[in-house]
Amino acid sequence: MNKHALLAMLAACTLLPATAADMNKVLHVAMNAPETGFDPAKVSDLYSSAINENIYDPLVSYDYLARPAKLVANTSTLPSVSVDGKVYTFHIKPGIYFADDAAFKGKKRELTAADYAYSIKRHLDPTVRSPWSFLVDGRFVGADELVKAAGKGALNYDTPVEGIKVVDKYTLQLTLTETNFNFLSILAMPAFGAVAREVIEANRDNTNAHPVGTGPYLLKEWKPGSKIVLEANPGYRKVVFDSVPGNDPVDRAVVKALQGKTLPRVGRVEVAIIEEEQPLWLSFLNRQLDVSGIPQAALQDALVINPKNPLDVKLADKYARQGMQLQRQQMPEVNFHFFNMQDPVVGGDSKDKIALRRAIAMAFPVNETIAAIRRGQAVPMNYIVPAGVAGHNPAFRGAPKYDPAAANALLDRFGYRIGEDGYRIRPDGKPLAVELASGTTALNKQWNEYWQQAFDKLKIHLNFKLGKWNELAKANQQGKLQMWGMAWGADYPDGENFMQLLYSKNAGDSNAADFKNADYDRLFEASLKLPDGPERNKLYDAMNKIVVAQQPWIFGDIRVRSTLAQPYVKGLKLHPLLNTSWRYLDLQK
């Protein structure tokens, strides 16, 4: 008997459809913004990704309990990686099947290496318009030629590509153009879940509405922007919960509820899109929702926040007495304001320009905005890579101390004198005014009040350029903005995803500040060749020091997410990278 036949037999024993989910159990959850669709190569918003995560299977995924997040095998074993970090070889587990679909013409359709090759290539297809193409462009040996040959048309998926090679039915070999020891975390994203080519081709005009994957749930009903219903996939392979608890009591509760049980537990997940805070909160209180985030307006009602330490939080007694569960987690994100480094007033690397940027950073009260706007549910940002992402340094203090007096002294020292109108002028005697781009919501107005106060303290004229996000993004690409606020959430838990935000080759794209620094670039390129570890961390520290010295960004904050669950919800633990916990949740009413 050959090796593959043996493997297939073993798999058949362990991957038999289990249908463990109790179809009478319905989990009610909500999202606070509308999704766009369920084609993993076409959508990038958090809400669509949350659904896709439950329908499709990436090659690898994350352990539910391990912190920091730990990659584990999913439909593939963990790959072997070549010594130079360029060749990743995956062995797909035999006996995994796609959910039934008309495109399969009544036959069971097994997941193979070719499905992953096809799914990865779709991100390179110009006609797919993948928002994730930046993660794969130029990554695979030979893929550029394929893309070039396609021009503006569709990719020829049948053309062999050396870097995306199907070695045999169950073996996929990815060969990268550059060393990258962290590529695996990219492949764990829901965007790289496997789709079946025949399903995509049969539904070419509307792939967003026709998701068919190998994941624990399938799409039963979709009312765009209103309601999404998932049902347990009856053909889902047998997946038994097996995770080692850490010291967190939540871990022990999860293990107690799930250890040895097959997943998913709940047969049906109903997702309501509730954009307004009041109905979201009231629906949770009235038990129309089983799990919910806490809207900003309800934080004071739901939580008891220590005024001296806003992160010291417990659930309000009235809800704790009902047995509700509170879980909190710092998000893998950074919020910051950037300067246009090519702008003649605020950009450049001369000492007076650096002093101006530093003074503005020193005059902005991050702690006050955390208390007043975030209601204590955020921590100051001090490093480009946030906590929970490989490469973070908790000891690094990158944000300047809030000190308007010192900021004014700095401006005085570098020639920004007070003019006749009581406001500062530039060292060359020209008038000084800074323009800050902003949205038009009530929340934007709150932030702008703090910015106005900061600039008033520095005696610098501040103007606001108000607009919709896409208008401002376009203006920024054209170099027409001076300052703007931005947030970046982790696409994958590796520092590279954040450090690239200031790499010069990404200027005009993810490098919104248009920051160009040869030393930073050199260190960044060196870091790409290293796996996560002390050697790479040293480079990251050096790059952070350059950013602190040059001040292209004003470090802002990192939000803390609070989630509540009803007493009968079992198995909940927030994960920094998995968007949902639905497959792990059980309802014991």
């Binding site: 967003n208 922007g225 009235n286 896409n470």
Partner: protein, 312 residues
């Protein structure tokens, strides 16, 4: 009558062309570049250029306008730029909940407003009239949003009389379970201004000479009100109703958002947020067409109500 209808239909063509031109100019002038929204985090010039090419935004403006004209002539607006769903199917799935909500609000609200307005007009000058007018004035000065927030909090959450929000595929469940609270709040929001408007229509009619003549002839007050005043007062009522009908399609944005009703109001907001031009185009054109058709219908109904009306 037929000549009038044909003439009015013919006049709709240039009007619709004007609407199309205005919409196209406005979208291209102030609508923002949708490629930045659709690009997600990938804002490279190549990615943005590819999106513009795929959407046809790299064509010249006249070419894009010709495509728009063809879409209007075939009533096929293609697919949504953000969700890639056919626009027709999006509107088809949204129109039902919106019509059920706004239609029932309009129907119930109008009946209540006309009855109360007729009653207080009949009792004009009395304590009841003054009280209703005072309450209506106060009620009008409160934002509709306040009614919705307070109604949802007190009636659904605190009193538990209604669900907080939701919508079903079954019409009976919607009518009996999900619709009553948004319907009640929608009626309450619109009732006060309608009562005041209709009351003034009735009072104006009651001051006419023919009412005095009817009384002199010895007709009873109920007969005067129901047979003469009501009929003549219906012309402004019909005008108001007909003007409202096209907007039934638009749904009730706040109610739909607060009660998670999958209607057109929510779709309009989403489409504008996402610069989803195909959806915006379709909704605008359908509203424009409906407005013109209902205006025509209103003129015809005037003639039916009052044969003295000349259609010219």
């Amino acid at each position: 009558m037929l000549a009038f209808i044909i003439r009015r239909v013919a006049q709709m063509v240039p009007t619709l062309f004007g609407v199309m031109l205005l919409l196209f100019v406005l979208f291209n002038w102030v609508g923002g570049d949708p490629s930045y929204i659709l690009a997600g985090k990938n804002l490279s010039p190549e990615a943005l250029a590819n999106i513009r090419h795929q959407l046809g935004l790299d064509l010249s403006l006249p070419q894009q306008f010709v495509i728009f004209v063809k879409q209007v002539l075939t009533l096929d607006f293609g697919t949504s730029w953000s969700t890639q769903q056919p626009v027709t199917s999006i509107l088809h799935s949204r129109i039902g909940p919106s019509l059920l909500l706004t239609g029932s609000i309009l129907l119930l609200g109008t009946v209540l407003a006309v009855v109360i307005a007729a009653l207080v007009a009949y009792l004009r000058g009395s304590l009841t009239d003054r009280l209703v007018t005072l309450i209506s004035t106060c009620a009008m000065s409160v934002s509709g949003l306040v009614y919705i927030i307070a109604g949802q909090y007190w009636l659904a959450h605190k009193a538990g009389l209604f669900p907080i929000m939701g919508w079903s595929d079954r019409i009976a469940e919607n009518l009996l379970y999900y619709l009553p609270l948004p319907l009640l709040l929608g009626v309450v929001v619109g009732l006060a201004p309608d009562i005041r408007f209709y009351r003034s229509c009735f009072v104006e009619e009651m001051n006419h000479d023919y009412v005095r003549t009817a009384r002199a002839k010895g007709l009873s007050e109920p007969v005067i009100m129901l047979k003469h005043v009501l009929r003549n007062a219906m012309i402004p009522v019909v005008t108001s109703l007909m003007m409202s009908l096209p907007y039934l399609m638009m749904g009730a944005m706040l109610l739909e958002t607060f009660f998670s009703i999958p209607g057109m109001g929510k779709e309009v907001v989403m489409a504008v947020d996402r610069s989803d031009f195909p959806v915006i185009k379709a909704i605008t054109i359908y509203i424009a067409l409906a407005t013109m058709l209902f205006n025509l219908l209103a003129d015809i109904v005037y003639k039916l109500i009052d044969p003295r009306v000349e259609l010219s």
